[in-house]
């Protein structure tokens, strides 16, 4: 059991149980087999939005907020500027409220789990005890994790840190949610954010009070529950004045979902002197070698450095999904605030990723760093898209961007699309970009020292990504390294 994670939902009271069924997570507690939830028909209209909100027992203001988002969404078109080749998505064909899976369908033991999946867990170095739970086997380990979670939750509670599901936050801390929800990503920010705002399922809420340093890495769920993350996740994280928090999202284990369309929104708010570190490992099912069946992942992530000297850093390792559309960004509002973006994105086979960041310099003496490592193998297409914007009042703004692409093989592609919009003559904006190939010489050199072709590739790729991996929490970094190797399997002969 990892000691840096914490479950978002500890002891299950009657309300939690209902809530968790509504979220389609019912079987994680293992004793709700008989309870059947209603299901919404496919399609999206105001009635569906009302239905979702009612199911979750939400207050009127939140329903209104959802409806407002929905009405705006109806007037919007999906963005077409990304370098992604996507067949038109029929939004009326999808179902926006999924009923919980039946426990009957869950494997009873590891013997019933796909051996390929178990092999992958082994390669990733996932502890034996967690493998069964990750594979969805209904076992006692799940209960263990719930009780461990309770201990952590108590500890956080003593410090005044709120860490719970979004639904719980709406009930227990409505004022905080109301104050900050949509304050960084407005409902109509973009097509996918509007969609999420209308139909979001659940997610996480974190509030760290003034002056408190969160003593542990927070993660959305225990890893074992991460496989059941919602389709339209909503995360809101607030670090009040002088607070510090490091947050971990996702899981190196491959995640599958029958819903192809995913659209998450993450909002971060850092007040004066606060610091937020947000790390993500995304390993959604990428589809088969031809790209069939993979997840479409459209994510809006944005953090606001609202106070002076606030710091926000995004670190991401993106290896999964058929389509990745994602630009974790920072609004540097406070003077001397600092934004950072560290990214590794791998595309193999037919995967397509269009990812990058936006750094918006608003306050004085703000600085930002962008380190992006794109790796393309197979027929993968990898685009870095980044915007650096310096507003006219942002005296002393500085940005450094380094954008490296690595190509493995001849059929893949890497693209770099920087937008630099500087409205202050004193701004210092640096952009460096490189594209390299793994050379036959490098491979042979490693092999001549005894490394297999797979190990050689993994070593070279990890070296290429080092600056980003260094930004991940330690034990996460080790798993991430293995994940890079697994993601590139089959890309050397």
């Amino acid at each position: 059991m990892s000691d840096v994670t914490i479950a978002e939902r500890p002891a299950a009271g009657p309300e939690d149980i209902l809530d968790s069924i509504v979220q389609g997570e019912g079987y994680k507690y293992g004793f709700f087999t008989e309870i059947e939830a209603e299901e919404a028909p496919p399609g999206l209209n105001e009635d569906i939005v009302r239905f979702i909100s009612a199911k979750k027992g939400e207050p009127g203001w939140l329903l209104d907020w959802r409806l407002k988002a929905f009405r705006r969404w109806q007037t919007m078109d999906p963005p077409d500027w990304a370098k992604l080749n996507i067949a038109p998505i029929d939004y009326q064909a999808a179902s926006y409220y999924s009923a919980p899976k039946s426990l009957k369908d869950a494997p009873k033991s590891l013997d019933e789990v796909d051996p390929e999946l178990l092999k992958t867990y082994e390669k990733l170095g996932i502890p034996l005890g967690e493998r069964a739970a990750l594979a969805g086997v209904a076992v006692d380990a799940v209960f263990d994790s719930v009780s461990v979670a309770t201990t952590y939750k108590d500890k956080l509670g003593e410090l005044g840190i709120i860490f719970c599901s979004f639904g719980e936050a709406v009930r227990e801390h409505p004022d905080l949610v109301r104050r900050y929800l949509g304050s960084v990503v407005p409902v109509a920010d973009n097509f996918f954010a509007a969609l999420n705002s209308a139909v979001f399922s659940d997610g996480s809420f974190v509030y760290v009070p003034p002056g408190v340093r969160c003593p542990m890495e927070l993660s959305t769920y225990f890893r074992i529950n991460a496989a059941k993350t919602g389709q339209f996740e909503r995360t809101l994280l607030i670090a009040d004045k002088g607070a510090y928090v490091s947050y971990l999202e996702g899981c190196t284990a491959p995640q599958r979902d029958e819903n192809q369309l995913h659209a998450a929104v993450v909002e971060l708010v850092a007040m004066e002197d606060a610091e937020i570190k947000y790390a993500t490992v995304q390993n959604w099912y990428p589809g088969d070698a031809d790209g069939k069946g993979g997840i479409y992942n459209f994510v809006t992530k944005r953090g606001a450095c609202r106070g002076d000297r606030a710091k926000i850093s995004w670190a991401q390792v993106e290896t999964g999904s058929a389509i990745t559309w994602k630009y974790p960004s920072c609004l540097l509002e406070g003077d001397h605030s600092v934004g950072a973006f560290y990214s590794v994105a791998i595309t193999n086979n037919r995967q397509q990723a269009d990812t990058g960041t936006k750094m918006i310099h608003i306050g004085r003496n703000t600085s930002s760093t962008v380190i992006s490592k794109g790796i393309s193998a197979g027929r993968g297409q990898n685009t870095y898209r980044g915007q650096i914007k310096v507003l006219s009042a942002a005296d002393g703004a500085r940005n450094y961007t380094q954008c490296d692409s690595l190509l493995i093989g001849k059929s893949c592609g890497a693209h770099t699309v920087p937008y630099i919009d500087v409205r202050h003559p004193g701004a210092k904006v640096e952009h460096e970009a490189t594209t390299s190939k793994i050379s036959d010489e490098q491979m042979f050199y490693c092999q001549q020292r005894g490394l297999t072709a797979e190990d050689a590739l993994s070593l070279i790729v990890n070296g290429f990504c080092k600056e980003v991996l260094n930004e991940l929490p330690m034990e996460f970094a080790v798993e991430a390294q293995k994940l890079l190797a697994v993601s590139l399997e089959g890309s050397v002969g």
Partner: protein
């Protein structure tokens, strides 16, 4: 005792290109140091590459037995794990990969192959210290990424250091002396001399005589136009110094 290396009638060409090795015969016993000399373009590096299994070459005839087994049927990484080491003429840079981390991965790959337990970080560090001392090499190279930003001399020293750590049965040193100033040459050749061992054979490829003043070979061969055109004992090198090998090349 089995020979470490037995090359018989080896012919090889660049894949899709011309023939470079035109019938090589060479036998190397444990403990021996061989020098292979010859003009630029003679095929010396190609011979090393073919023995190490570098892609891009095609063996068209002949056989190579290494410790009694068919070397050419082994993939390059297996050859390395079986104790064949090539010190590269142009060592390759691997950005972001720490030199020590790389070497430990290499060392443990070989140990796994031999059924020995892997060295943990501390055991490895201890072994590193011993070898550094033996070779009189500073530890400044170890903190850096593999060959990245190394001077020519540093790269060559690093190759010898790797060789010392990996303790190969057969070491092929391809122009390890070229591009070195006299001090670096001394460090490298001292290192090679210390690594002479009854269980180990060393083949030094060079087109300068001066290395042989420092590392005295048991056998000296001249490779010209893809063939070994002359061989002799250590005195042959001195002789060559006077006569040059132009007349031998003409004979080829």
């Amino acid at each position: 005792m089995t020979n470490i290396l037995e090359i018989r009638g080896l012919r090889a060409c660049i894949t899709g290109g011309r023939e470079v090795l035109k019938g090589i015969d060479l036998t190397v016993a444990p403990g021996e140091v061989h020098a292979i000399m010859g003009p630029n373009g003679a095929g010396k590096s190609t011979l090393s590459s073919v023995l190490a299994g570098k892609p891009g070459y095609e063996v068209t005839a002949g056989s190579v037995f290494y410790k009694g087994v068919d070397l050419l049927s082994m993939p390059p990484d297996a050859r390395a794990r079986e104790g064949l080491f090539l010190a590269f003429q142009y060592p390759v840079e691997i950005p972001g990969v720490n030199n020590m981390y790389f070497l430990r991965a290499a060392l443990n790959a070989g140990r796994r192959q031999r059924g020995q337990p892997e060295l943990d970080a501390q055991q490895f560090l201890k072994a590193v210290r011993e070898k550094l001392k033996l070779l009189d090499i500073g530890d400044d190279l170890l903190r850096r990424a593999v060959n990245v930003g190394f001077s020519g001399g540093e790269k060559k020293r690093n190759e010898i250091f790797q060789m010392a750590m990996l303790e190969p049965n057969l070491a092929l040193l391809d122009e390890t002396d070229s591009g070195l100033d006299i001090d670096a040459l001394r460090v490298v050749s001292d290192g090679v001399n210390r690594l002479r061992d009854p269980g180990r054979a060393i083949i030094m490829v060079t087109h300068y005589q001066r290395l042989l003043d420092y590392v005295v070979p048991d056998h000296v061969h001249v490779l010209a136009d893809g063939r070994i055109v002359a061989s002799g004992d250590r005195h042959f090198a001195v002789e060559l110094e006077q006569t040059g090998y132009a007349h031998l090349c003409d004979a080829a």
